[in-house]
């Protein structure tokens, strides 16, 4: 049995590690630049408008005197994505690519509306104070529209080329291996489909090949993140089917297509 003192130390140690881990992953919902406090008040996706809303509150004790506040937007956020309902802004490239708001009040809200669904993540922001030619730029970080969330990918990680065993008569024949598909998507509800492209000998019936060829997908959920899907193949000819299968090489080309829903 461990001494009480050691248990206490371990408990505090665990708490400290947990706290550090928590601090390391905490969202940056408020940040201080000089005497200006910027707070992300709201991040919400409106599915029926297909818009994502970010609301920032910017406050200071001193009068802002047309101070500029800039929110960095990553390259994946095209100008067209910034909805017209956004608070008055201008695009800027300095000190980085983003949208520039002008502060006119000590307490002010700025709303950013983006087309589509956008995750939040830590992005850069800047505050520009002073007069033209004598400007001071303060740079910090705050939660905002994050670019990492917008991609879709399909990998065939195994079984890109597969063979069938010799077929000696009617029955069920399994391919020698399965195909593994990996779909990585930033959002749920992606779509996976496939179509066939047959290369068959002269006189063969494509309809017969399509009918006896069975492709089975393992169950999957089209959710955000990565999904591995197994694809199994069988040939199931009956006696009558052989009339449509003359001698030659048969290649069943399968194109797997993934896209957003």
């Amino acid at each position: 049995m461990l001494p009480n003192r050691l248990v206490q130390l371990m408990t505090w140690g665990l708490l400290l590690v947990s706290l550090l881990l928590f601090v390391g992953s905490v969202d940056v919902t408020a940040a201080q630049l000089g005497d200006v406090t910027i707070t992300l008040e709201t991040h919400r996706y409106r599915p029926n408008k297909d818009l994502t809303k970010f609301v920032y509150r910017v406050t200071s004790s001193a009068s802002p005197n047309d101070q500029a506040w800039i929110l960095k937007l990553g390259d994946c956020i095209l100008p067209e994505f910034v909805n017209e309902a956004t608070s008055p802004f201008t695009w800027t490239e300095e000190p980085f690519r983003g949208i520039r708001f002008v502060r006119t009040q000590k307490k002010q809200r700025f709303i950013v509306w983006l087309s589509g669904q956008w995750d939040r993540g830590v992005v850069s922001m800047a505050l520009i104070t002073g007069t033209a030619g004598n400007e001071e730029i303060l740079i910090g970080e705050i939660d905002g529209p994050y670019c990492v969330g917008s991609s879709i990918a399909l990998e065939i990680t195994a079984g890109a080329g597969i063979s069938f065993p010799p077929i000696s008569g009617p029955g069920l024949f399994l391919a020698d291996q399965e195909t593994t598909l990996r779909v990585t998507s930033s959002s749920s509800g992606w779509a996976l489909s496939h179509f066939l492209d047959l290369t068959i000998p002269t006189g063969a019936w494509a309809e017969t090949v399509e009918r006896i060829f069975v492709l089975t997908l393992s169950p999957f959920a089209a959710l955000e993140g990565t999904a591995d899907i197994q694809v199994a193949y069988t040939l199931n000819p009956n006696e009558e089917d052989f009339g449509g299968l003359p001698q030659g090489d048969y290649v069943i080309g399968i194109t797997f297509v993934v896209s957003t829903d």
Partner: protein, 393 residues
Amino acid sequence: MTIRRVRALFLILAVVTSVNLCVLGVRWSPAELDLAQDPGTEETYQLLLTNDSDERVTLTIYVGDWQRDENGINDFGVPMNGARWEFTQAFSSGDLVELRYTVQLPDEGSVDVQGTFRSWSPQMIESIVGAEQISSSAIEQPDPYVSSLWTTITRSVESVDADGIASIVLTLRVGLDFEGLTIEETYAQGIQIISLDAAGGSFDTVNRSNADWITLSHPQVTLDPEESREIAMTVATPSDFSGSAWSIIYAESRVVATGDGSGTQILTLASVGMKVFVTAPGTEVMAGEVTYVREQTTTPLAVSAAFSNTGNVQLVVNSRLQIIDQTGEIVRDVRFSEYGRDYFRILPGSQRTITIADEADMPPLPIGIYQAIFSFDFGGDSDIAGVRAFRVK
């Protein structure tokens, strides 16, 4: 089956070799594009294509049309700038079937078209013959029927009105019996196609396609492992479009088998599609209607509803089913959900059918009369709902 045939088949498929292929991986960023662009303008956008595999890969990039069916399933098989008819029934020798549709001719007064048809069983693939340029000078009556062993489809231009709308007839003459038929017409440019008479088959086209507006900087790229390449996409919008139009840009891997290629083999390809929506700002109309609500079964309870998008932009719709008993008490209140989301998307001009059913462990509804209220929130001024009364016996 005779022994001879079995032996022949054994010989056909006995030589099987392994095929060496690399791992394939393709990634588009962004996953989807929703662009606001004024009519009559041209804009260029940068898309990022990445080879996620550990091998050098050549990718073919091309634009296509797509739609969703009534169950929300994506259909990538509609020919670009074209239409598709499908028939599941059997056709007999001597059958004569006529399909009618119209196309809006472009300003120059003519447009080229090509078509194919494919019977399913037994399979034959043939080209559609007849008029290959649709214009007022191509008007002619279909040929009189002549009995033949050959199955043919002939295209003829029946009329062209003052507004430039051409009426087209496809005449199917069946030679030998077959079952199942797919017909595809593909025009040289984006064009409005409307079915007048599909002769009992299904008809599909994408009349809000923007595929013809898109030009890509690269039809093909070769990428090293983990390499990314920017693809420029130029969108030239017509001067008279409103609402949204859409298409899909595929990046498709092309690989070459390195085995000896004999026997029966499967070769897989990876294709990633980036959907591209283009909307004319200020012209959006968001509108929908509930086509029907009906109880599929009462024990266990399953209620279906159909929602139609009658506007001109894609709608994102939340849906909810409430069941109310005779006392006014809400005995079921279930929100629609699929793929971990509580909404579905629906294209303009489409209908979506959804069904909400009791979970297996739910107690059945007691005997009585109930009202099913299926409501839909599509972002309009207010929700819309369909109501259906039903009895549990």
